[in-house]
C-alpha cells in the first residue's frame, strides 16, 4: 500500500479548513425530521453499528489471540475463545528478543528522515513554483503532473538496480531516497502557498529580505497545518511500505517493520500467539500516532487523495 505515492489529486483548498467532524452539520437535520425520519435514524444507527462491530472483530480477534498462550492458540479458534486467562508472554518474548527493536529502529529512522526530507524539499520546490517566476517553470510544472501518474511500485526493479550500482543496498538510504520525490507533497505545498496573501511578504521584500528568508521566516511558519499533515502522511507511508525495503534490505538487523513481519509467518511456524502479537506490536506506533494526531491524519488523507 502506502508509499507516498502518487496517484493523488490534491485538493487541499477544499479540505484544509473544513473540520471533518462529521457530527456537527448533521445535528440540525435530525431535529427537523418527522417521525418517519426518526425510525429511519434508528435503522441507520443499527446498520452502522453492525458494520462497525464487524469491522472491529478481526483486530479484536488478533488481540485476543496475542494474549493467549502459544500452546492454547495452536489448538484452534474455540480454545482461544474459551481461554479466560490472558497472558502477556508473547509480548514479553518479542520485546526481550532483539529483532523487534531493530525493526522499530529501522522503521523509525527511515520514516522520520524521509518525512523531514519530503517536507523540506517539497516545500522549497512548492515555494518556487508558487511564488517565483522563472524560466523553466512550466517544464517543472509538467514534470510534477507527469510524476503524479507514475506508479512508483512499478519502478521497483530499476530502482533496486540503481541502488545496487551505487552500493546503497542494505543501508537506510536505500529506503529513504526513493521515497523523497513525493510529487503529491510538492503539489499540496504549492497549492497551500498559493493561498497565502502576497501582501505578507511584500514589505519584507522591500526591506531586502532574500527568498530564503521569506520562505523560512514568513511562509513556512504560516504553513504548520500542511507541514504536519505531509510529515505524518509521509511517515505512515514509509513506515508501511513493504515492496521497497523487501528488495533493498536483506540484512535482518536493518529490516523495517513490514519486512520483519512478512518474515514472521515462516519463521514462527505454529506460534500463532507470537505471530499475532508481533503483528500488533508492528502497528502499535501507528495506532498511537493516529490517536494523537487523528485530525491531521484524516485531513492529510482527505486533502491529498493519497493512496498506494
Amino acid at each position: 500500500m502506502a508509499s507516498p505515492d502518487i496517484t493523488g489529486s490534491a485538493r487541499p483548498a477544499r479540505s484544509r479548513n473544513n473540520g471533518l467532524s462529521a457530527a456537527a452539520p448533521a445535528a440540525k437535520v435530525v431535529k427537523t425530521q418527522t417521525n418517519g425520519g426518526r425510525t429511519f435514524g434508528i435503522v441507520c444507527a443499527a446498520v452502522l453499528t453492525v458494520f462497525a462491530v464487524l469491522w472491529l472483530l478481526p483486530s479484536l480477534w488478533a488481540i485476543k489471540t496475542s494474549l493467549t498462550a502459544n500452546s492454547v492458540a495452536a489448538l484452534g479458534a474455540e480454545s482461544i475463545l474459551k481461554d479466560l486467562h490472558p497472558t502477556f508472554s508473547s509480548y514479553a518474548t518479542l520485546l526481550k528478543g532483539g529483532d523487534l527493536w531493530n525493526w522499530y529502529l529501522s522503521s523509525a529512522i527511515t520514516s522520520v528522515v524521509s518525512a523531514a526530507l519530503v517536507v523540506l524539499f517539497a516545500s522549497m520546490a512548492g515555494y518556487a513554483l508558487s511564488r517565483m517566476r522563472f524560466r523553466g517553470r512550466n517544464i517543472v510544472f509538467f514534470a510534477v503532473i507527469a510524476g503524479i501518474m507514475v506508479p512508483s511500485n512499478v519502478l521497483i526493479i530499476p530502482i533496486v538496480q540503481q541502488l545496487q550500482a551505487v552500493h546503497l543496498l542494505n543501508t537506510y538510504w536505500s529506503v529513504i531516497f526513493p521515497q523523497v520525490p513525493s510529487v503529491v507533497a510538492l503539489f499540496v505545498f504549492k497549492q497551500f502557498f498559493d493561498g497565502i496573501p502576497v501582501e505578507l511578504e511584500e514589505s519584507a521584500r522591500l526591506d531586502g529580505a532574500s527568498n530564503w528568508r521569506i520562505y523560512r521566516s514568513i511562509v513556512m511558519p504560516l504553513s504548520k497545518p500542511v507541514i504536519s499533515a505531509m510529515a505524518i502522511v509521509t511517515f505512515v507511508g514509509v513506515w508501511n511500505n513493504l515492496i521497497l525495503p523487501l528488495y533493498t534490505m536483506s540484512n535482518p538487523k536493518l529490516m523495517t517493520i513490514p519486512v520483519g513481519l512478512a518474515s514472521v509467518q515462516g519463521s514462527f511456524g505454529q506460534r500463532y500467539a507470537d505471530i499475532q502479537a508481533s503483528a500488533i506490536l508492528g502497528a502499535l506506533p501507528l495506532v498511537i500516532l493516529f490517536l494523537v494526531f487523528q485530525r491531521r491524519i484524516v485531513e492529510g488523507v482527505a486533502g491529498t487523495g493519497l493512496k498506494g
Binding site: V29, V30, M132, P181, I243, A302
Partner: protein, 313 residues
Amino acid sequence: MSTTLDRPVTGHGGTRPKAAVSENQTRPAWLFVAPFALFYLAFLLGPSIYMFIASFFDTSLVKTGLGTFAGFANYAEMLGNPSFWSSMWHTLQFTIYTVPPLVVLSFVFAVLANRMTRGSWFWRLAFFVPYILPSATVSLIWVFVFSADTGIWPTIQKWFGAEAPTPVLASPTFAMVGIAITTIWWTIGFNFILYLAGLQDVPRELYEAAALDGATPWQQIRYLTIPMLSRTTTLVILLQIIASLKIFDQVAIMTDGGPGISTEVALTFITRAGFTDNRIGAAAAASFLLFIVIVVIAVARQLIERAQERRAA
C-alpha cells in the same frame, strides 16, 4: 472547486509580460527546486526511462550493463506468455472484486456516519484505523482468520454446520476472494474519509428545504446526496482502480501468488521475472505494459474530472 491541475498552467500564461522582473529570479528559483529535482530525476524520471530502455534489451541482474539488444522480443514474449496474461487477469479479477464493494460500502458508511449526531470518533476508529495498519499486520491477521483448522472463519463455518470448511487461502477458487475481503477491510477507511469530506460540502440548507417539502430520508439520499457526491464518487472509483491494479503486498505475504499461480498478480509476476528469474529486460517490458494501463486510467481520470468541472461551472 477548481481543478487544481489546470489553474496554474493557464493562469500564468497571462503574466508573461512581467518577465522583466522575474528574469533575475531564475537562478534562485532553481536553487529552491534543485534538491527536489535531483531526487525526482534519480528515483522517478531516471528509473522510468531506464525501465523503458531496458525493456528492449536482454538485461539481467547478474551482469552489468544492458546486455544484448532484443528489439521488441521482450514485448512479443510477454504478450505471448500465458503467465503474463494470467497475472494480468488476476489483477483485473482483484480489481473487479474490490472496487464495487469499496465504493458502495464506503458511501453507505459515510452517509450513515454523517447522520449520527454523536460518536464520530467511534466510526472513524472502526472504519479508518485498519487503513493506517501496515499491510504486513493486516495480512498476518487475515491469514490467521482464514487458516484451515485453527482459524476463526473455518470455525464459524463449522458452527453453521459446514462439515468441511473452505480452506479460503489454500483454494485456487477462493484465495483471491480472501485477499479481496482483506483489502476491503483494510482500505475502506480511505474512501470513507473522502466521502465524509465530500459530505461537508453539501449545504445542509438543501436537506432542511427537502425535509420541509416532505421528502423522506431515502428520497433525500437518492435525489440530493448521491448527485451532490458524484465528483467524489468518480474520484474514489478511479483512485480505487489504480490502487487495485498495483496490488502487491497482500498477495506477497498471504499467498505469494499461490496456490499454484491462482493469485499471481502483475506486480508479483514482474518482481519474480526480475529478481528471481534475473530477467530484467522481460520484467521491464511487463512493467511498461502495466504502466501504460495505469497511465491510461490516470489520464482518463483527469479528463473526467475536468469535464465534471466544466459541467459544474
